[in-house]
Symmetry: D2
Amino acid sequence: MPQKPAAPLSRSTYPHFLRIPTRWMDNDVYGHVNNVVYYSYFDTVINDWLIHQGGLDIRGGDTIGITPETYCQFRASFSFPDIIEAGLAVGRLGRSSVTYLIGLFKEGEAEAAAVGHFVHVFVDRRTMRPGEAMPPGIRACLEPLVIDWPGSA
Amino acid sequence: MPQKPAAPLSRSTYPHFLRIPTRWMDNDVYGHVNNVVYYSYFDTVINDWLIHQGGLDIRGGDTIGITPETYCQFRASFSFPDIIEAGLAVGRLGRSSVTYLIGLFKEGEAEAAAVGHFVHVFVDRRTMRPGEAMPPGIRACLEPLVIDWPGSA
Amino acid sequence: MPQKPAAPLSRSTYPHFLRIPTRWMDNDVYGHVNNVVYYSYFDTVINDWLIHQGGLDIRGGDTIGITPETYCQFRASFSFPDIIEAGLAVGRLGRSSVTYLIGLFKEGEAEAAAVGHFVHVFVDRRTMRPGEAMPPGIRACLEPLVIDWPGSA
Amino acid sequence: MPQKPAAPLSRSTYPHFLRIPTRWMDNDVYGHVNNVVYYSYFDTVINDWLIHQGGLDIRGGDTIGITPETYCQFRASFSFPDIIEAGLAVGRLGRSSVTYLIGLFKEGEAEAAAVGHFVHVFVDRRTMRPGEAMPPGIRACLEPLVIDWPGSA
């Protein structure tokens, strides 16, 4: 059992939020959102930010984000038709990589029902290798999300 | 190629709308929302209505909706991070069954990008057989959605 | 309620089968495979055939298949960990389009638990318009699947 | 970047394998299986084992498995129509909880393309609290999967 949360539990820590309504098919046979689906909330809040704020062009751009690891701790359950408020922060911003911190909250609740992290390495679409640095637009949209979080060494 | 739309193309025909944001993983390899996912928008707008307006209890209720058929015509594509406005109407309201009409619209557009129908038969959870009639709360929430649509014989 | 099956009910009618194991998350809150997921079985058996037998190159090829309509009738349910045997036939093979017929069978059963159709129009990836004709490799892999089916006018 | 693999990289370490074919919609816009979907392979290999070998009754049983955390490291990509061979082991078997180790392999390859862990706590379906111990049938099916793995403290 995890002793330490993977990302901040407190709503006030997250600089950005996206509302993500659950879908009927998110529910599993036990009547709760399946654990797999939480990760689709993670990459939705992340990519929505990168596209809208960082100019990421997922179809034609030279740079794509690949994912070396993801992690989630589940503390309380969601059920359709809950609306999820997904908090996004950056715990570590490297030269060509970033570690996002994500907290998933029930509408209006102060403490996260799930927390996790998600790593992106930005690579050239053709070579699939990291470039010298991440594109300036991407970096610029991530900097305002950086928070001080000891777990992101 | 379909000659006749499966449900109304015009936004003004639908009595109810639900906003459904796309998710990153809805996109397929061609950069558009995969055709399968449209049906998850269908059952989300339908079940959201039944739960919120009709008192459907998906975990403990005596009545569940089973689905004998669904159908969708795809006219224009969506891509993440589009927000979909899902229009819902009822084309045929029977004793224990209902035929929903669904139109999926890009934000603010007048003509549907996809239209389809979805049939529910309400059955007893234990016997899996239709009862004498659908529960009064369900029927009451469906009646305001009924429109005149010739294809729903 | 459908009077006429959307595709053949009998296993012996289908020229090709693909085994598709269900997944844990295919199940919905009622303990059965969600209706949406049936369509993912449809496009899996179809695209698997096109890639393996027809040389479809989904990442770099000039031609892609777009989907103007899909339809499914649900006759009996599946539950994880069922293994589905997906039967594939072609009901109509046009100049640039094809109507597939699909039957989903429980392992070893003679009659389909679900039947449906799925239409592909092959278009140029850049213009998104149908070419003069579908690529010869695609056509060649579809011809052996053609069956006589009155519903596919 | 992870220094240490989350689970064994070597195929020969895993006591059990399940073949899981990819599906068309598993692919994302970059032409690879989306990172989210890997977790559905995890819970498929796990629950398939629990149902077939441990007698887990997901619809009517008194005991259900809840998931406090999952983790995955992505080392190489899959693409539809790849077939995945999912290796399953147990790194830690507690009184009412288990930590699974999972390795996802391309057909016939010796080294895993992805590795991760997945924790189950077995709880009473009504109280949602862990019982005195996990059901004997569950424990009996997990014991043969236990391996020595230093990361599973």
